[in-house]
């Protein structure tokens, strides 16, 4: 591997984890997906042009991995057990955090990843489209739809 694997995990691990979490909605599935993605990264032997190329590939594989997980019959029949308060942000206001979480979980899984990349990673639409393997029009459409729903549920102002 031309790039140190330790550096790759340290640099891109949290980003991929959040992206997977936004798709899956729980920690265990997110960790499974990210671990699977890095295992593929180790075994694929792909040569990347630069770090941006590597991150784009990792994000696309993560999105596909999460979609496959969500499409699996086992996942669809399983009833989520993570109804307990999320410990991801213990310092945040529990009420606010629960509301945000409920609003995000109300979004379709595909839209959650776009929301995460747009609002948290501040990726432009073009980069989101390239990272997730979607067209820019689809990204804009989904982002607009998610934004309206979040605004409605969180009662925020303009986004």
């Amino acid at each position: 591997m031309e790039h140190d694997f330790q550096q790759v995990t340290e640099r891109h691990g949290p980003t991929l984890y959040r992206l997977a979490y936004s798709y899956c909605g729980n920690r265990s599935d997110a960790e499974d997906c990210v671990q699977e993605v890095f295992a593929k990264y180790l075994t694929c032997g792909k040569v990347f042009e630069d770090d941006e190329h590597r991150l784009r590939w990792l994000m696309k594989v993560t999105a596909n991995q999460c979609r496959d997980l969500l499409k699996s019959g086992w996942k669809q029949k399983r009833q989520t057990l993570e109804t307990l308060p999320d410990i991801a942000a213990p310092q945040a206001d529990p009420d606010t955090r629960l509301a945000v979480r409920q609003a995000i979980e109300a979004l379709p899984p595909k839209d959650r990843g776009i929301v995460y990349l747009y609002y948290y990673e501040s990726y432009p639409v073009r980069r989101i489209a390239a990272s997730l393997g979607l067209s820019e029009t689809a990204v804009r459409s989904r982002l607009d739809r998610a934004r309206k729903r979040l605004r409605q549920m969180l009662g925020g102002e303009s986004g």
């Binding site: 995990t9 340290e10 691990g13 936004s22 991801a88 995460y116 609002y119």
Partner: protein, 264 residues
Amino acid sequence: MKNEAEQLKEYFDGIEPSEAFLQRLQALEETTVPQPRASEKKYLWRYALAAAAALLLGIFGWRTLDRLRTDPVLPDERTDRPAAIEPAAPAENPAAPADRPEQTPPSASVSAPKTPTEPPETVEPATTGDHAGLAPTVPPTVSPPPTVQPTAPPTEQPPEPTEELPPVEPVEPVEPTEDIPDNTGDAPAISEEEAFVGLYELVDGRELITIYDESSGESAVLDVTGQVIDGQYQGVHTLFGKTLSVALQCFQGGGYEVVVTVLN
């Protein structure tokens, strides 16, 4: 109240992978064996091997087909049905067993059919050879010595299995086998009156052995169609008032030998 963007950012800020998970990720490198990408050489070798195998198969297949096209008779079958009947050229000096020409290999004995009266142009007496001795069963005075057999080189008359043979050909002299003792210098076992010459030929699909009584000039034809097994025939016939043992031996690649022995 914060807008949804700030709330989302705070929400995602709280989503952090645990330290244990990150350590587990970093340990993946030790447990996962990277698979090297298949190099182009790998496929090159495969294609090269496949091409070589196909080439060899094509060459051998073409040779086999070409051989069958030119010579449909398999080599093993030739021993049963000699391609061309070898003429038995009478020796100029048949009474001299020691002077018989050097014997040629059976494969080289195939020659163009000759008439019985045709002189053995290619026969050259030889003073040396493993089979210099005449077989005891062969009348030395009449039949040519075994060395009379095919003297013509193989290149002069290649065997042609399908070619029809002339009706009458001189009988090839009895060729002594390796286990036959050399009787050079010994007295002939059969008198001149009992000299017979055999000619084996294929006429219209029939296998005929013509026996010539050289002392009287008479001849008799034996139809041995279907009785020649594996290029060999052995029979006892009453001809010319005598009981004769007729033995036929066909050689691989052409040529034959008829041995006529007087039993009484």
